[in-house]
Symmetry: C2
Subunit: 245 residues, 2 copies
Amino acid sequence: MQKAAIERNNETIAAQLTPVGRETVQDRVYSELRRALIGGLFEPSQVLTIRGLADALVTSTMPVREALGRLITEKALEALPNRSVRVPPITLERIDDLLRARSLIEGEAIALAAARMNARQIATVEAMLGEWDEMRALKHKKDIDREATLNQSFHFEIYRCCGSAVLIPMIESLWLQSGPCIRVAIYAFSDAGEVDTAHYHRSIVAALARQDAQAAREALVADISRPFAFLRDKLQSASKEGLRA
Amino acid sequence: MQKAAIERNNETIAAQLTPVGRETVQDRVYSELRRALIGGLFEPSQVLTIRGLADALVTSTMPVREALGRLITEKALEALPNRSVRVPPITLERIDDLLRARSLIEGEAIALAAARMNARQIATVEAMLGEWDEMRALKHKKDIDREATLNQSFHFEIYRCCGSAVLIPMIESLWLQSGPCIRVAIYAFSDAGEVDTAHYHRSIVAALARQDAQAAREALVADISRPFAFLRDKLQSASKEGLRA
DNA sequence: TCAACGCAAGTGTGATCACAAATCAAAGTC
DNA sequence: GACTTTGATTTGTGATCACACTTGCGTTGA
């Protein structure tokens, strides 16, 4: 019975090797498109074609069309009656709609998380606060992409603690939908002068640290409302311009 | 310039014809699978294969695999590491999770709807109440499928009035996820004796009629909690049985 | 007797082709 | 000159094939 020995041997091998996984092309395409959408690499109303994306991603059309189908069901993309697909356009109603849904669901998620986070988990998000300051210190080079990524990690690190396998995918879907809008707002932000995202994040962490669910929810809503409110104003003045012209 | 005349002619023709649309096979497969899932035709933990479904639906594998992919991203189905796909199994945590999410989001939707519904819309859902009683009158033949369909129509008729294009797809996704669980509960219900769904629906309509958002929310939560609570008890006693054995 | 091996059927994934619909541009018509 | 028509190109959809992986069962070996 040297079975135990073989078992041990296999375990030591497993400990040395990093699992390569068996990610399909379709999965890679899907995450790549997700990343692009949340990061705002696509503009609202931009039309996407299967063959175009397949060329850009250097694959065949097959994985792309399945990934697009999945993104359409998540409302991250929009299927036009022409059967072509585009990034959903920004409208005032949609902005308010998205903000309300995000406040509701992400607010619930952080309230749940506030009651469940342990010291280690709080320390993790606190550390991300430091990372943010660090990045801000060398502000000569504004790296909007890096800021967006860090912001996303911060939020989802918290949401992951809410213990709900149902809410988190919904939040991801909401980020996917608001990604293109938000990015437009962020660009406008950095033109219009600095905003202290770090301040909002600090008050979120403070509320979490004292397990104050209500305060955490309010701080979070304040944080996510900012770009939406900014975008809303921008859109309203733009439409007034349009009316005048 | 007889363009206007042609236009008019086309319009009169269009008024007579019912649009056949240009629904793709993929769309039909997708809605069929949705219907089956919400209706609970698939059992939790049941494994589905692409070729099997393609045979059952009399199409090729192509539309089926895309539909399955979409359902997986909505968490209506689950992708196993083996790359096979199954209906998500029922667990206690999942039941609580789904109920919490549904209470939160559908509660918000009905609260919004309460403030927005006009007399005609309220009359519509009131009429559905009557339809329910009618069906119940000839209760000799319990048609669970018909009850489920009517229940779904009732709820979504209300939700559609909330004016949010973001919330409604999320609610659909939640129904898709809870469909298989609920159906198990409903079957157990009808064994365990009658429950007065109509009573809950009546109090929902009453609250909507007097635009009482809070009452509507509470009545709704009571309505959707019932099968979940029932299922929860059933599962708990079953697991106790399992432990004893 | 039982575990390990190996073969065969079944399954998901990706590529390619055929086809229909949409789009765009140039030529034609009033 | 404005509008329609026609033809070429582009695009999404569905079918089919090839390949890799998994699974199940029967055989082999100790």
